[in-house]
Amino acid sequence: MFIIVAISVILFSIGNETITESLTAGLFWVVIFFTAMSGLARAFVSEEERGTTLTLQLIASPTTVFSGKLFFNLILVFCMNLVIALLYSALFEKFVVQNFPLFLLTFILGNIGLAVASTIIAAIIAKAGAKGTLYPVLSFPILLPLILTCVQLTLFSFDGTSFEEAQFELAIVVGYDVIMITASYMLFDFIWKD
């Protein structure tokens, strides 16, 4: 529902004006970011609200809990972003992907990074007392390098840039994902145990 609202707002505000490819790529990731912000914050908050945290702490190790939550968020992110991508390709003239494998790779890597970062931030938020407005504030700086690079890569895939030219940006996204996964698994113990 949020996706449809966001995209229709963008379409209404554009009106009859033609927008460039770089703007389309940027708007695509803006919608993805805000959808993730509205959808993924709930992962740990629901546990705290229903009081099931203690049970989970007793029966499962922190790593297992985090993997479960991460897996759930990954599925959620992939479903949401698939809908967004389909809607964009239907509604925006300039959303034409020339280099499809590059776009797919960007999409997958970007989604993984988004899911990992938002899961660990969601865990912090849930322990901090579930302040809804704090979530985007905490997530935005963490996600900024990922989103900027993904916008660049999406633009490359529109232009039909080859893999060799996009190598450096791809390496950044892969590095970001690996660092985020490692840091999250190492730090989740501290959040979960206290």
Binding site: A117, I120, I121, I124, K127, A128, G129, K131, L134, V137, L138, F140, P141, I142, L144, P145, L148, F168, E169, I172, Y176, I179, M180, A183, S184, L187, F190, I191, D194
Partner: protein, 240 residues
């Protein structure tokens, strides 16, 4: 005590020298700075911009190290040290942004042009602003220390992307970016010896000032916590 007076004299000398020494085509006297093409009179702000940016990095690095130590030892003193360093880092970050923007106005034509360096320092401001927002929203002391330490570590692993990778792959105006024709910092070859001397004196002076401020900062936080605890115990006793 003596080193405080010495520090005051040093910083006073650096400030006066940095602002008042003239820039001339061919420096002959000991107090004259050389003329650097492309920078001209703007070059003087380097004595204040670079030390603040350098201290931003040092302060945030120390904040992360003490956050890590807190997670290891669960000692609240480490949290106070990390918090104090982050506060100072924020002050120097704002100063670096402002001096950078002023410099940009005269060197590049406008205060803010989303140069990669400006983007990355903006992200740094956002990260540590978010850290303070997180800290202020949590009541419990231990929980606040743990969560802010975790957040500061997560934020810190993304900082290399901003500081070292982004400015180098994106085209920018700041020295050290991908299409920079000078290829490297200006300090190495365009400054003459007296300019270098004042530049490094300024770096040293500001660094010592930072460590002094940091010591005062974390001590006051620790003492404040102790006082609050001492004041709380009798009132709780009366209430019960």
């Amino acid at each position: 005590m003596i080193w405080k007076i010495f520090l005051f004299l040093l910083l006073a000398f650096v400030s006066i020298a940095g602002i008042a020494f003239p820039i001339v085509e061919k420096p002959s006297a000991w107090y004259e700075f050389p003329f650097i093409p492309g920078l001209e009179e703007n070059a003087k702000i380097i004595f204040f911009h670079v030390p603040t940016a350098w201290l931003t990095v040092i302060a945030f690095l120390m904040s992360t190290i003490f956050s890590f130590r807190y997670l290891k030892n669960k000692n609240l003193d480490d949290d106070a040290k990390a918090y104090s360093a982050a506060q100072l880092g924020m002050i120097f970050c704002i100063l670096a942004t402002v001096t950078g923007a002023v410099w940009a106005k005269f060197a590049w034509g406008q205060f803010w042009s989303w140069d990669p360096r400006q983007t990355s320092i903006f992200a740094l401001l956002l990260i540590y602003g978010a850290l303070f927002a997180l800290r202020s929203s949590i009541e419990s002391e231990d929980k606040r220390a743990t969560l802010s330490a975790v957040y500061s570590l997560i934020a810190f692993v993304t900082v290399p992307f901003f500081i070292f990778i982004m400015p180098r792959i994106m085209k920018g105006l700041h020295p050290g970016s991908a299409d920079d024709s000078n290829a490297g910092p200006i300090i190495d070859f365009q400054m003459n010896s007296n300019m270098q001397l004042i530049f490094f004196l300024s770096l040293i002076g500001f660094t010592v000032l930072y460590f002094w401020m940091w010591r005062v900062g974390y001590r006051s936080i620790i003492i404040k916590d102790k006082l609050e605890k001492q004041l709380m115990i009798p009132t709780m006793g009366q209430g019960g």
